[in-house]
Amino acid sequence: MTQSVWHASGYNAAQIRELAIFFGLLLTAIFLIVEVVALLVLRRRHRGIQQEPLEASHQPGSGTESKLRTVVGISTAVTVLILFGLTILSVSVGKAVTASVAPAGSLKVEVTGKQWWWAVRYASDDASRVLLTANEIHIPVGRPIAMKGEAEDVIHSFWVPSLQGKRDLIPGRTTQEWLQASQPGEYRGQCAEFCGLQHAHMAFWVIAEPADQFQAWFDHQLQPAVEPTDEETQRGRAIFLRSACSLCHAIRGTDAAAQVGPDLTHFGSRRTIAAGTLPNNKGNLAGWIADPQTIKPGTHMATVAIQSAEMQPLIDYLESLK
């Protein structure tokens, strides 16, 4: 799993990583110089006795003092110059990397942080090409993505370290940033601003794919949910629709259209459930539906009473929603 500043992919994260390495090396060198001087001072402490008649005057001779003044003065001047340079460097790199306006031709993606999952919306002028999904963001490699962030309840922070720095999602405001992946890959992200009980379990995935694969994924996701083919999954759909599930979740192509919880239209195609908490498979899904409060204490996912005989068809149906 990659959730690391070092594992940078794409323009923004790579620029930041280079800047971090430059800062890191330079500052480590300065740190080492200061510490070496400190250790030299420690070694010198017995020699000071011969050099200056300190006990009487408590002040070294004027020659020593003026030498020290020169050294301290030069060190200060060098410090000022280095910090000035670092400021200029940082601001100039930051201008491009952290700009809120994306370059032209970008794909517009809107993320809404909610306790404790991510609603994702692919914006489009054509209403039939607006896509709603959750906790998994597919992007085409090489194309800038204009991210728009909002929050429904409390402040969250959108962070995929391999692609870009954080952007807070603040209720009542819209924040923006842009990012770009340079290689195909699966990048993990996580909420970075403390947002309550399950802050630790608010992850998501960004899947970067070549443009044609992305397009295929996108077109497929625009489709309504697949029709159940066998009896078992048909029963599963019926159970979903008549139980409390459909009060919160939407499955396009069925009567379930609620927007309280994540959209489940293509749930079976996602890698994880409960916002990156568990790998998506039938066993985990059964556990999650049966007892969400054990897996993610405090989650707003309701514990829905599903009879044990009904669990299997329900799971089969949900996992069939590829």
């Binding site: 500052l27 420690l42 300190l54 807070d168």
Partner: protein, 631 residues
């Protein structure tokens, strides 16, 4: 051992002085103490208790994070504990302990008998104690805040944090903020108006300079947190206002601005006194006057100003306009200049002096290592692109523990070893002191160094658990092991303090041949500090030969007289008589305390607070006899 009274004090009537200045015996006497030594000692002891509590909370967190998907603590409990940990360390330990050191040491260092407003001083302490007891009293009844120590709304608002925990948090800040303001006013007036004759501002010890700058910072910073935590948050929660409620047109970012306008200077409020301690320790231990006194003073003042100009670097991720962000990057970088100058001056002092590597100096070297590293990561965090990656991760956790523990706790421990003979009359065991230093130093770096790495490989802060497979496991385990080393070091330190207090070698007035006036007083100091007030003729008064040290005579010994001097040159101006010990500050604090504590449950308690507080103040200020005599 009979006290050694230098020849020039032979004519002082120390018996009368002692009778005039002593704290009354008995429990009531103890409660009515107004002497700066009593109050300072209480601040320090209470703050160390809270350090212990905060430390235990830290250990619990480290245990929970020792392995992935640990179930030692529940999510809710973990969130409460990290909130309490941050709150305790910032508000109930770090600031009060520095204030305690200031209250104890400043009057001794500037050669006076007490702080300017003794009753206000006592009141400040009782408010602080009440605040601490209030927070943990609420915790005892399971009203525990869980929105983090900076309690961002809307999460901390009434909708997402129901219950009384966050109210208790916000009201506790009211208590500590009143206390901090009392001490600030206290120290500013004491330092500016009560210095020994001859101690012009340019002869003032560095520690007093640091307390002076710190006190001014408190006066400017505390109102901001009052606006954030009381006006915005507590009113939103208890009175139904909507200052920071986005659903009703309020703005959560407004809270962040107000909070960090306090929150960033707060770090310097904690850390400036520590810088003063480093200067004091080094001057005495190198046997030379501190190098670059004017540069050090200007750097402190510079730190004080710049600290107010960089709060936004806590908010880079909120997406503010870029031009503003560039300004705050520059300001954040700039503070490294004033901090750097001080490091250079200390290195120069040690280079040209005759360094004695006592336990106190060990802690100073620990400071030089840890704090400088924290400073370097601070420069990285000033850069917006880097900050956007490191913000709210364990990298930041590592950074601020490096600057706060390295920058404030290590110098504080050094200072504690240095002034221990003054506090107790006995020397602290040097060997055990050095042992505790090494355990703390190794433990600290084992705990916090891996966190830099953890942050960069994606571990966000304030997570109660994490999934395996992200490469975080070993670094977390290492950090947990380090935390227990810190515990061991802390226990060694406590053992050393307790043992040396009983069995340590008698120290005498001046075990280090120190340079500043506190070493002229007895160890521990008599309640009147000095038999005759000293007159100062140089920046290092105790390194002036005794024959060239005049004293002040003509002060009355049968009442609590202090000498008021002029702000710049400390020329004697008049004598002022201080009020005797009294219970009223305690009763006033109790009255306000009951009212403020009750007010988180019902608004009517504010009336009670006003009423009881008013009664307290009437008793406190009941006229007695003329307090001032013209000279």
């Amino acid at each position: 051992m009979t006290p050694v009274i230098p020849e020039q004090h032979a004519h002082a009537d120390t018996d009368t002085l002692r009778r005039t200045w002593r704290t009354k015996p008995g429990f009531i006497g103890w409660l009515s103490a107004v002497n700066h030594q009593d109050i300072g000692r209480r601040y320090i002891v209470t703050a160390f208790m809270f350090l212990l509590i905060g430390g235990i909370e830290a250990l619990l967190m480290r245990l929970q994070l020792a392995k992935p998907e640990n179930t030692f603590l529940s999510a809710g409990r973990y969130n409460q504990i990290f909130t309490l940990h941050g709150t305790t360390m910032m508000f109930l330990f770090a600031v009060p302990v520095m204030e305690g050191m200031g209250i104890y040491l400043v009057p001794l260092m500037i050669g006076t008998r007490n702080v300017a407003f003794p009753r206000l001083n006592a009141f400040g302490y009782w408010m602080y104690l009440a605040g601490g007891l209030f927070l943990y009293g609420c915790a005892f009844f399971n009203m525990i805040p869980d929105a983090g120590w900076f309690a961002y709304p809307p999460l901390s608002g009434p909708q997402f944090s129901p219950g009384k925990g966050v109210d208790a948090w916000a009201q506790m800040i009211t208590f500590t903020e009143v206390s901090a303001l009392c001490v600030a006013v206290e120290l500013i007036v004491t330092i500016l108006k009560m210095r020994a004759p001859g101690m012009s501002l340019n002869r003032m010890p560095m520690f007093c300079w640091s307390m002076l700058v710190q006190s001014f910072m408190i006066i400017f910073a505390m109102p901001a947190v009052m606006i954030a935590s009381t006006v915005f948050l507590l009113n939103d929660r208890t009175l139904g206002t909507h200052f920071v409620n986005p659903a009703e047109g309020g703005d959560p970012l407004l809270y962040q601005h107000a909070f960090w306008f306090f929150g960033h200077p707060e770090v310097y409020i904690i850390f400036l006194p520590a810088l003063g301690m480093v200067s004091s320790i080094l001057e005495t231990h190198t046997r030379r006057r501190i190098f670059g006194y004017p540069a050090l003073v200007l750097s402190l003042v510079g730190n004080g100003f710049i600290a107010f100009g960089l709060w936004v670097h806590h908010m880079f991720a909120t997406g503010l306009p870029q031009i503003g962000e560039a300004y705050f990057t520059a300001a954040s970088m700039m503070i490294a200049i004033t901090s750097g100058v001080q490091i250079f001056c200390w290195l120069a002092t040690m280079w040209s002096g005759r360094l004695h590597a006592t336990a106190a100096v060990h802690f100073v070297f620990g400071f030089l290592f840890i704090f400088v590293m924290g400073g370097m990561t601070g420069v990285m965090l000033a850069s917006i692109p880097l900050d956007l990656q490191a913000h709210d991760t364990f990298f930041v956790v590592a950074h601020f523990h490096y600057v706060l523990i390295g920058g404030a706790l290590f110098p504080l421990f050094g200072g504690f070893h240095y002034w221990f003979p003054k506090f107790t009359g006995r020397k602290i065991d040097e060997t055990l002191g050095k042992v505790s230093f090494w355990i703390l130093f190794v433990g600290f770096n084992t705990t916090f160094f891996p966190m830099h790495w953890l942050g960069l490989v994606g571990m966000t802060r304030r997570v109660y658990t994490y999934i395996p497979g992200l490469g975080w496991d070993y670094a977390n385990l290492t950090a947990t092991i380090g935390a227990f080393l810190i515990l061991l070091g802390g226990l060694t330190f406590i053992a050393n303090v307790l043992r040396s207090r009983r069995f340590g070698e008698r120290a005498g007035n001046d075990p280090w041949q120190g340079s500043t006036l506190e070493w002229e007083a007895q160890s521990p100091p008599e309640p009147y500090n000095f038999p005759n007030l000293p007159v100062v003729t140089s920046r290092t008064p105790l390194w002036t030969p005794v024959s060239e040290r005049p004293i002040v005579i003509g002060m009355r010994e049968d009442r609590r007289e202090v000498l008021i001097t002029k702000v710049l040159d400390a020329e004697p101006h008049h004598r002022s008589v201080q009020p005797p010990p009294t219970l009223w500050p305690l009763l006033t604090a109790l009255g306000f305390g009951i009212g403020l504590a009750g007010s988180i449950f019902a608004f009517n308690w504010y009336y009670l607070a006003s009423l009881l507080g008013m009664i307290g103040l009437i008793g406190w200020f009941w006229p007695r006899r003329p307090l001032e005599v013209e000279q």
